[in-house]
Subunit: 327 residues, 2 copies
């Protein structure tokens, strides 16, 4: 699709911002049905740069050890580092490479980005960590003409202990939401998630996957907005029942320790590979605490640790080294 021109452009931007602000409220309300404490909302702005956001965060709740649901709406000038971090293949964003730095030349390129990003780390090791994100980007040429636009996003599940029924339910709910739009989307986004959520140096995915897409502008933007909205709803419809089922299960100290090791892997992924983290930390004026909010209260690294053969811990590892078809 060609880059949309104003005012259509503005309108999609406004609609996406309205959508993510509305979904932030719904998600927080849905999570609070399973939680004795309330999320705390922090509103922040980018100082001299454009935009800001609202971070809704909970820490040491009754169910959630740490969780955050952030909305950010930012605009300004892109740094070469930020472009490089967010770049997948953005075919419409052909920037020349600076030979001296190996980074794209971005002189005068302006951007607008808005998105909702969420990570929930429950206390109970039987209750999976989850991540959800939908975002919209636009860039303009120095002369103010639109350059390109795209959507990205997805949701995934990171259990410490694998319940096949949870994985199947999570994937099936997201598949149903995507099938309504186009039956080719789920297989494609599921495969993309298995590739994206890979901790390359470990040869393991961080969890049992879900959906992921980026640089998506091959449908009408109004329809992609609806795909994002249905994605938010599919996450609420699938994750909340899993929390209700798992949050009060009994667990041992050893299981909690295993959860901390798995959260160490989560940290490795988020700090080394997550495109949102990389982009955020390289965008001048972005709020570090809202980006690092995805990191857990407890993470652990044990030297050369391997679960016992035949154990539940080993079963999880197997599901992260050979991605399965869950729906």
């Amino acid at each position: 699709m060609p880059a949309p021109v104003d005012p259509t452009n503005l309108s999609i931007r406004q609609k996406m911002e309205e959508l993510i602000r509305r979904k932030q409220k719904e998600i927080v309300a849905a999570l609070e049905t399973q939680e004795g404490n309330k999320f705390r909302a922090d509103t922040w702005s980018r100082g001299n740069d454009g935009g800001g956001g609202t971070s809704c965060v909970i820490q040491n709740g009754t169910t959630i050890e740490k969780g955050g649901c952030n909305v950010s709406v930012v605009h300004g000038t892109l740094t070469p580092e930020a472009i490089k971090a967010m770049k997948n293949d953005h075919k419409d964003l052909n920037l020349p490479i600076d030979e001296a730095t190996g980074l794209p030349k971005t002189d005068g390129v302006k951007f607008f980005a808005c998105g909702l990003s969420m990570v929930i780390h429950p206390h109970n090791p039987h209750c999976p960590t989850t991540h959800l994100n939908y975002r919209y980007f636009e860039t303009w040429n120095p002369d103010g003409t639109p350059q390109t636009w795209w959507f990205g996003g997805g949701a995934d599940l990171t259990p410490s202990y694998l319940y096949d029924e949870d994985a199947e339910f999570f994937h099936k709910t997201h598949k149903d939401a995507l099938d309504k739009h186009d039956k080719e989307l789920y297989p494609r986004f599921k495969k993309w998630a298995d590739k994206y959520y890979l901790i390359t140096h470990r040869g393991e995915t961080r969890g049992i996957g879900g959906t992921f897409f980026d640089d998506f502008n091959e449908k009408d933007p109004e329809e992609i907005l609806k795909i994002c909205e249905d994605g938010f709803d599919a996450w609420i419809a699938s994750y909340i029942p899993i929390v209700a089922k798992r949050k009060d299960m009994e667990f041992t100290e050893e299981q909690k320790q295993w959860q901390a090791i798995r959260r160490g892997r989560y940290v490795e992924f988020n700090i080394m590979y997550d495109r949102g983290t990389q982009f955020g930390l390289r965008t001048p004026g972005s709020r570090v605490e809202s980006i690092m909010m995805t990191l857990p209260v407890h993470a652990s690294w044990l030297y050369d640790h391997h679960p016992a053969p035949g154990s539940e811990e080993e079963r999880l590892i197997k599901a992260t080294t050979v991605p399965r078809e869950w729906a």
Copy 2:
């Protein structure tokens, strides 16, 4: 200095390997004087690629929560990603940039690298984490002629609670060792450490610094070998007495929690910025467990956490945001 030719070349390589293997034994023996348990040695090889190493690791010791002292001696073909990760400014390593990837073209470039890397995380929050590394690199052209060579390394201290006397002693001991060779080295390597050990997105250094240098080939290689040897000895002479003084101090649960938060910052630095980690994870056939051994048993991230004004915790933060002159 021009790249040395064989057999001088080989000889420095052999001498550096001999030095790091000897210092590995001395360092482990020195640490064991403060520790009730023994380090465990794992020897590994790079499989089909060249080289291997020995990792001496301890976990849940009486003094050391986790620590490792690794020697690695590897050689083979460089990947563009590894070159990019290890590159500081290597002025003699002029590789053309591939416009498609933004990475250096490395076709046929061979390398040899050997080094000792060590990180020690003690249990006691009053006892600082430390890191030590000295390494030697060589590269050759596809026709087998020597291309360039350099040394790198340094040592630093990462306290959770700041004892000025420890910081002064650590820096003074390293300064004395460098002053013997050239009085310009300590000021230069100290400043380089303050710049290198910076967690850019936090605007904090990971600790109170020490020494750091890279791409160093401006002195006779025999003298640089001696600078490395004296660096190893300065680390032993300064760190072991600090451990002896701090390892049995009383501490509270809150202090242990603060240590976990600081170790979260350590994880951020090592995964995002540490050149050794970046280089290692991008070198095919390298041993992930020996690289990730630097990560702590416990790390914690609390949302928007700030120490109380006037507290010891705040005093530490101040020393990491405005580096001080310690010697």
